[in-house]
C-alpha cells in the first residue's frame, strides 16, 4: 500500500509537463513594445503603452477595494491596495509580456501585452 504505483509516476509526469508547457508558451511570446492593460469585471478600463511613457504614471482603480497601480517604461506594478490579501502587491513588478497581477477581491487584472497582441497567441 505504501509503494508508489505506475499511475502515480504517470500522473505526476503529466502535470509536470503541463506546467512546463504553460510556462514555455509564456516564455515564447514576443516582448518588444509592452502595453499594460487594466481590466475590472472583464471590461478594459485603461490601456497604457509603456514605451511611450516619459515619466511614471499612477492609476487608481476603485471598486470594492482600491488598487494603486504605477507604470513606467520598464514595467507596471501594483504599488498598494486596500484589499485584505495583498496578492496583487506581492506579485511585484511585471516586465514580461503575458504576465499579470490579479486582485480577485476587486476583480481587477493588470496584464502586460507584447507586440503580437494577446489573442493572437492565447486564442
Amino acid at each position: 500500500m505504501r509503494r508508489l504505483k505506475k499511475g502515480d509516476i504517470l500522473i505526476s509526469a503529466f502535470f509536470l509537463i503541463l506546467a512546463g508547457a504553460v510556462f514555455f508558451s509564456g516564455m515564447l511570446r514576443p516582448s518588444g513594445r509592452l502595453t499594460a492593460i487594466i481590466t475590472q469585471n472583464g471590461k478594459e478600463i485603461r490601456r497604457i503603452e509603456l514605451s511611450g511613457l516619459t515619466s511614471p504614471v499612477t492609476i487608481t482603480v476603485s471598486g470594492e477595494y482600491e488598487n494603486v497601480i504605477k507604470a513606467d517604461q520598464s514595467g507596471v506594478w501594483v504599488e498598494h491596495a486596500t484589499c485584505p490579501r495583498q496578492t496583487c502587491v506581492h506579485t511585484g513588478k511585471l516586465t514580461k509580456a503575458g504576465s499579470c497581477a490579479v486582485c480577485m477581491e476587486n476583480k481587477m487584472v493588470v496584464t502586460l501585452v507584447g507586440d503580437g497582441g494577446f489573442d493572437a497567441v492565447a486564442g
Binding site: K6, L16, L18, G20, C100, A122
Partner: protein, 170 residues
C-alpha cells in the same frame, strides 16, 4: 436512499474538521513565500481524501459541499466561494475518477497529487471566467508545481489518518 446514522454522524464530524482546517490554513501566510493567489496547503483535502476512501463518493461530496458553503457563510467572500467551488469540485471529481484505479494503478499519493493539481486547474478556470482575462492562465505553471508538492504532503497525512480511522469506522 437509506442513510446510516453512523455515516451521517461521521460526515458531520468530518465537515467540522475540514472547516477547522480551512480556517487554520487561512491564517498561515503562505502567500508571503509564494506570491500567488490561491496558494494554500490544502489541509482540508486530507479530510476529503479520508471521506472518499472510507465513506465513499456521496458522503465525501456532501462533506466537501457543506465545508465550502459553511466557509462562505463564515468568511462572506463570494469570490472566494466561487473559487473554492471551482477548485473543490474539479479536484473531487478527478480524485473520484482516479479512485477507480486504486490500488492497482494508483496509490493514495497519485490520487492526492491528481486532486491537488486539478484543484489548481479548476481555480484557474474559475478565475478565467471571473476575470475574463486570458493572462491568468500563466499562473497555472507555478500553481501546479506548488499544489503537486502539497498533494504529496496531504497524501502522507491522509494515509496516516486513514489507517487510524478505518478501525473506528467498521
Amino acid at each position: 436512499m437509506k442513510i446510516r446514522i453512523k455515516t451521517l454522524a461521521l460526515c458531520a464530524v468530518l465537515t467540522a474538521l475540514a472547516l477547522a482546517l480551512s480556517l487554520l490554513e487561512s491564517t498561515i501566510p503562505l502567500g508571503l513565500i509564494v506570491p500567488l493567489p490561491g496558494v494554500k496547503l490544502g489541509l482540508a483535502n486530507v479530510v476529503t481524501l479520508c471521506a472518499l476512501f472510507s465513506l465513499g463518493f456521496w458522503p465525501a461530496l456532501a462533506v466537501l459541499l457543506c465545508r465550502i458553503l459553511l466557509l462562505f457563510l463564515m468568511t462572506g467572500s463570494f469570490t472566494g466561494f466561487l473559487m473554492s467551488l471551482g477548485g473543490g469540485l474539479t479536484a473531487f471529481l478527478s480524485m473520484a475518477a482516479c479512485k477507480k484505479g486504486y490500488p492497482g494503478f494508483f496509490s493514495l499519493y497519485g490520487v492526492s497529487v491528481c486532486g491537488a493539481c486539478m484543484h489548481s486547474v479548476g481555480q484557474v478556470a474559475m478565475a478565467l471566467i471571473l476575470t475574463q482575462s486570458p493572462g491568468v492562465v500563466y499562473y497555472l505553471s507555478p500553481l501546479l508545481l506548488t499544489s503537486g508538492a502539497c498533494g504529496i504532503l496531504t497524501a502522507a497525512a491522509a494515509q496516516g489518518a486513514l489507517r487510524a480511522f478505518r478501525h473506528r469506522v467498521e
